[in-house]
Amino acid sequence: MTTPSEAPPGPPGDADPPGPGDTPWSRWDQPSGRWMLPGACPDSRERTLVLEAAARLLFPTVLVFSVYLLFEGHYGPGGGFSGGLVAGLAFVLRHIAGGDDNILVSRFGIRPPVLAGTGLVIAVLTGLAPVLWGEPVLASTKWHISFGSFGYLDVVSSLLLDVGVYLLIIGVVLDLLRSLGSGIARDAREAGETAPRPDTGGGR
């Protein structure tokens, strides 16, 4: 799994071209060092190095933890919902540290609503699938995979439903970040306001 800041800035999502006022794709991460989050933020007084470095370290860790929660959910505390929320929090951290608009969205080249929709489709189809085997809707089954002396793994079919929920929640959190976080900043910029004043710290 590559950490997002090392990933090449893929082509912009076809359905979501960068709006007016966005940094061009060729140099959207230029000002930042390798360890820092990309600073689309024009004002260096707006940046918090400690937070950026922490976010850089925490982001992959939190994502891995969210996947652990997703798999652990059937028997222990966790599951698709809490896993998705934790993953969403990782993105929130990036947003707070790295700031500005479209970064979260464009890295994936995928629009958050599509993520949420795909998750819901997976979840609903998982619910309907047992009908094909003559079982009631939402029935689940368990596969026992043994690894010899290393132990065994129980894979439950409802894990697929949890994966759907996981994607749905990430999609919702990203959409919230887009509309309530960077969306508000973009609206403010388009309305002619300059960069947020340093003392308020708004718009970060």
């Binding site: 609503p113 929709g117 489709v121 309907l128 003559g134 079982e135 009631p136 809707v137 939402l138």
Partner: protein
């Protein structure tokens, strides 16, 4: 049989799937429209199959995940829920056709939305789940799906006045959700079950006072949703400000779901064998206050909203009589009123687009300038007032016959039914005289072209007329097939009154009760104890129950 059981889940799962697909394809407007219409049409077919099956072979029950009834979640399609599901989905489909064409004519054919179509379908999911669910907590979830979607629909494309009226709606709805959750918690603490069929046996053993508190709490909760009179204040303030299709959908469906939930819980969980004086009084007050409010309005949409409140009283009256014929009358009235109220709001939207105003005083002469609109308004208006050849007459006759045979109190309230019908007739006749007769007036200009209430244009695309007229056709079909429909409704009323069919279908035939309930009193504390939390409260209440029974 499993396939038929899977069918019960489809009215819930299909719109959810449609909503998800609609989000994914959201840049493509035409694909979204196709998905919406196809999904709702499929749900209509499924609902039809369920109705036929439930009427011929008894309730269809799906146990989700194969978990048996008192533990797991069940979806139940009996005659009542399948009938209301069918008519609700038909209305939703017609409103969607209207809304699609309105959006095309307002924003252009290419404009897609990531919110409108998915949320519309999610609302339909919530409504279907509310009709089908067999337990109280899932009913709460269904209401939440429905309400969360409605919050979005009522505040989309915001303007200041829309936000203001939306806030009223959101706050009142959240308040009632809070009460609902409290009620569910109390019911669970007292009985150790939230399954409606299971509750039917267990609630009977509770002490009389506790039973009354629980019943009243649920009446208040569903009363807020259904806009029964002391709790109706939010409706005329919030509904009229939404765009016409959204108002039509809310007026047609949301309040009726509240009435349905009231009907289901009051007959199944808190059965009575004599008319409820409280509900009779509330029904009479609702009818009269709503109708008088309507007479006083100048705003066309507010007038229709007050008429909606008034006619909620009619449905409540049928329930309050607590006889099979009364419940059958309520079922018929819901079926009739869902279609006709939605039609009236759609037509009101067309009128507003034509005249540029919602103020009746500023309209006039539309019968000359827009004869199609005059016909479209006249038929549902007459139906709502309940003049003889229409479905409104059929439904009101059923209610009056139910009331006439019952107690003197019910007969007095039956007189209020006639009075409120006359007031309704007066209110719509007043609209007719002011809006369609008189000298034609120039349409007003649209003062805010950016909100979703596009006014002042004569442009009304054909699909909007198709949507409105298809609902009129539905209400005419209801009137034509009044015989078979009344027969189904009266069988549904018998089902709800006897409770046998529902209980044995959900819990299995061997647990069907002969007397007040199959669960011995001693078994009551085992429910919460086995479920963990709330054991102490459950045991305490069960002690109370034992005390009362031994006395």
């Amino acid at each position: 049989m499993t396939l038929l059981q899977a069918f019960v889940t489809l009215p819930v799962l299909l719109p959810m799937l449609g909503a998800a697909a609609s989000v994914i394809v959201s840049p493509r407007a035409s694909l979204q429209r196709v998905i919406g219409v196809v999904t709702l049409a499929l749900v209509c077919v499924v609902a039809g199959v369920l109705l036929v099956s439930a009427d011929s072979y008894g309730p269809v029950v799906a146990q989700l995940g194969g978990w048996p009834a008192p533990m797991g979640i069940v979806l139940v399609a009996d005659r009542m829920s399948a009938l209301l599901l069918l008519i609700s989905t038909l209305v939703t489909l017609a409103v969607l056709v209207y809304a699609i064409d309105q959006r095309i004519s307002d924003y252009g054919r290419e404009t897609a939305s990531t919110t409108f179509h998915p949320i519309f379908l999610l609302l339909s999911t919530g409504v279907s789940l509310a009709y089908l669910t067999g337990d109280l907590f899932t009913l709460f979830v269904a209401f939440e799906i429905m309400l969360a979607s409605s919050y979005v629909l009522i505040t989309r494309r915001t303007s200041a006045s829309r936000i203001r009226s939306g806030m009223t709606y959101v706050i009142v709805s959240l308040m009632s959700s809070l009460l609902f959750l409290t009620a569910v918690g109390m019911v669970y603490a007292a009985t150790g079950s939230v399954n409606l069929a299971d509750l039917a046996g267990r609630v009977g053993m509770l002490p009389e006072g506790l039973k009354t508190v629980l019943a009243l709490l649920l009446v208040v909760v569903f009363g807020i949703k259904a806009a029964i009179v002391p709790l109706h204040f939010w409706l005329p303030d919030s509904y009229p400000n939404a765009p016409a299709p959204v108002t039509a959908l809310f007026a047609g469906l949301l309040t009726k779901v509240g009435i349905y939930a009231l009907l289901r819980t009051q007959t199944l969980v808190f059965p009575q064998d004599h008319p409820s004086t409280l509900l009779l009084v509330i029904a009479a007050v609702t009818m009269v206050v709503g109708a008088l409010g309507a007479v006083a309005q100048d705003d066309l949409n507010r007038l229709l909203s007050f008429l909606l409140v008034s006619h909620i009283g009619f449905m409540l009256f049928g329930l309050a009589v607590y006889t099979p014929s009364g419940i059958a009358g309520t079922a018929l009235y819901i079926v009739h009123h869902i279609t006709v109220q939605a039609t009236l709001f759609l037509v009101s939207g067309l009128i507003t687009r034509r005249t540029g105003t919602v103020s009746i005083a500023q309209m006039g002469g539309l019968a000359q300038t827009a004869p199609h609109l005059a016909v479209l308004f006249a038929i549902p208006a007459i139906t709502l007032a309940g003049l003889p050849p229409t479905s409104g007459f059929v439904a009101k006759l059923a209610l009056l016959r139910a009331g006439a045979g019952a107690t003197p109190a019910a007969e007095i309230v039956a007189a209020f039914v006639v009075l409120a019908s006359l007031l309704t007739l007066y209110a719509v006749a007043r609209v007719w005289v002011r809006v369609f007769w008189g000298t034609p007036k120039e349409p007003l200009v649209d003062n805010d072209p950016n909100d979703e209430l596009v006014v002042g244009t004569a442009r009304s695309a054909r699909g909007m007329y198709v949507g409105a007229s298809s609902l009129i056709v539905v209400s005419i079909v209801i009137a034509l097939f009044a015989g078979p429909l009344s027969a189904i409704a009266s069988r549904a009323g018998d089902d709800l009154q006897t409770r046998e069919a529902y209980r044995s279908a959900v819990l299995g035939p061997d647990t069907a009760p002969g007397g007040p309930g199959p669960v011995p009193v001693a078994a009551v504390p085992q429910g919460p104890a086995a479920a963990g939390g709330g054991a102490a409260i459950g045991a305490m209440t069960a002690d109370d129950a034992e005390g009362t029974t031994s006395r």
